[in-house]
Amino acid sequence: MKRTGAIFVEVIVSILLFTVGILALTGTLFYGVKMVTESRQETIKEQEYKNSVENEILGIIQGSDPSPAGASIGSDQIIINSRQLPFTLYRYKQEGKEGTEMYLIKRGNTP
């Protein structure tokens, strides 16, 4: 049985597969280069965020920060030896980045 053109189809399929592979590799390389280029800015942003939370802690410890900049997510209390320690929980988050939430506790007024 003669199948003229079978080799042509094989070559086309192989070229197609090869092209897809090359494109995928190029995409990965470009992504890697982009990540490396952006990492500097990303590190600076992360450090600034961490510094701001550290400053908030310092403000709480020094008592110079009456209302922390974080989002208040409610007041609660810790029971120590049947006595209450009221507190407010504050949440901080790096803008545009998931999973970077930090939580700080600030003592509330004792009843």
């Binding site: 090869f18 810790i78 506790i105």
Partner: protein, 149 residues
């Protein structure tokens, strides 16, 4: 690429086979490099997540210790008479979205000094311990910070 002419004449397709094999080898090498880079990126990502969790627990323990210390500085017997056995708090659960942690406080001391140990533990198994030691013999009262047990 130099291919033996006599060989290719004898076996048509031998040159193509060599090209295909070398192409396969080059692509395999490039793929191995890409896979290694991807694996390292994932490892760094996991490490960063772990570090964020540690920092999160440390901040929580630090501010908890501060809250208890503030109270004790104002009134050393705010949570009962200080003793060496220790006053232990009820475990406080903090939950927000995917984050969940528990806080435990232990206060030990005598009429000279008080020690506050705040421990924040996460469900993932991580924990952070922060200790403050309050000097009750001086006015105004001072306290020192330390980490761990």
């Amino acid at each position: 690429m130099k291919v033996d002419r006599a060989m290719t004449k004898k076996r048509p397709g031998a040159a193509l086979l060599a090209i295909v094999l070398i192409g396969f080898l080059v692509l395999s090498l490039v793929s191995a490099v890409v896979v290694t880079i991807a694996r390292n990126t994932l490892r760094v990502g996991a490490w960063q997540t772990e570090q964020i969790e540690k920092t999160r627990l440390d901040y929580l323990a630090r501010t908890t210790a501060q809250a208890v210390t503030e109270q004790l500085t104002a009134d050393p017997e705010a949570f009962g008479i200080l003793n060496r056995t220790g006053i232990v708090s009820e475990t406080k659960q903090i939950t927000d979205g995917n984050f969940s942690a528990s806080i435990d406080i232990t206060i030990k001391g005598d009429d000279q000094r008080a020690s506050v140990v705040a421990k924040a533990s996460s469900e993932k198994g991580g924990s952070a311990i922060v200790r403050t030691t309050i000097n009750l013999t001086v006015t105004p009262r001072t306290f020192t910070w330390s980490a761990g047990n």
